[in-house]
Symmetry: C2
Subunit: 246 residues, 2 copies
């Protein structure tokens, strides 16, 4: 039986989604729990790798499940009973035969939260990047729009060109909203390179602070030169919100 | 020079605002930092005690400051440089001579956050009480309205009558709002008894779950019997939002 899980986690305690040499991965924790429940290894595949410290409220994973008597909702309950509170299974449901969480994903939606206030709110210190200086929202909005479309995103990716894979991606939507003292950066696209969203955010914050021009994004992308982009924004402001399959 | 500070903290790491025998109090951490900056003890008084684990986004404290050359904003910076990230000084300003954070407080506003969803969100697990079962919002709203006014609140306070002090308080506003999967309980009053807000919330959640009647609050208050109220809601959902001085 093919299953599809929706997973939420506080990334601060994890080395990211995928198994790595150092630290505990989210995938590993879930696979351990599945093994305890099912009595045999049950590998899962995630829709996306998230980096160390990045959160998720809607990660999707696929798995083969060999215990047809256990209903998906019971598996959700059993997993949540075993998993730590910083990692929750929001949903488990049957998926079409051959469903693959990564290959079938059409688009992903990421949210980056910036708290723009003189002093950081202690209650949001784990989910927002605190930026104390004034930010020009209009300039950031104009710049964000320039990321939309099909581009080579090498200039805003870490290790561009490792493995010589294509650096071309399509960003469908890239928007900035203001909600009280927060600046919310939402980006939806068919795929993202390593650290791409965080480098976009770091660049936009430099634009908002007047340290680079609002109309500089097109030339930055055209350069394909990572050294010309802004600093990578910290991981804890980023959250994988949703994976779309249609 | 009399000063007034606004303080925010994540209560999860503290034994409450006030110095106690067990655990570290918020007040203590600030007084230690003040002593390091000023070179002599500088006691502060808070507008309110908050219980162990309760958060604040707008606690107010008063103090005498004997270093007139240091401007209030510099003191804020110096304190935040010494304090841990779960405790921040949002504002320091001059206060009228004789200002007292507790005695001069006219009203306080508390917010209690409930996440009402099948599975808890790991990113809000420190700031929301997770209630998985369905809640009747209309019943909870009707019941909340019955707390408004001048009442003897013994029935919803812990240790009522210890010290034989008056248990009469005035609740000015008591409202329930829905925001996505959260139920937000806001209560504003001239003063609150020990665990009063959390017992109100625990009672309202039992009403929302159909385990007690929506019109039962008036009789509950009239009984002055704590055993008739609901369970005390957990501390981590509660936040002192604002203290009013006029």
């Amino acid at each position: 039986m093919r299953l599809r899980m929706t997973v939420a986690y506080d990334g601060s305690g994890y080395a990211g989604w995928q198994r790595v040499a150092t630290g505990v991965a989210v995938q590993e924790k879930i696979e351990e729990a599945l093994k305890r429940i099912g009595g045999q290894p049950a590998p899962i595949e995630g829709a996306s790798r998230t980096d160390r410290g990045v959160h998720a409220s809607g990660m999707v994973a696929g798995l083969d499940w060999k215990h047809p008597r256990m209903r998906p909702m019971d598996l959700r309950r059993a997993l949540n009973a075993l998993l730590p509170f910083d990692l929750r299974i929001l949903d488990v449901r049957r998926a079409p035969k051959g469903f693959h969480a990564r290959f079938d994903a059409k688009r992903k939606l990421y949210l980056y939260r910036i708290q723009n206030a003189p002093v950081a709110d202690p209650l949001r210190r784990g989910v927002c990047w605190h930026v104390p200086h004034a930010l020009d929202l209009a300039a950031m909005r104009a710049a964000a729009a320039a990321f939309v479309g099909r581009h080579d995103f090498s200039a805003v990716a870490a290790n561009p060109g490792y493995a010589r894979a294509s650096m071309v991606r399509t960003v469908r939507r890239c928007e900035i909203r203001k909600r009280r003292d927060e600046i919310l950066f939402e980006v939806e696209g068919d795929g993202f390179l390593y650290k791409m969203v965080r480098t976009m955010v770091g660049t936009l914050v430099e634009i908002g602070g007047g340290r680079r021009a609002a109309d500089s994004v097109a030339a930055l992308l055209a350069s394909r030169d990572r050294r010309r982009a802004g600093k990578t924004a910290p991981a804890h402001g980023l959250c994988l919100v949703k994976v779309f399959y249609r």
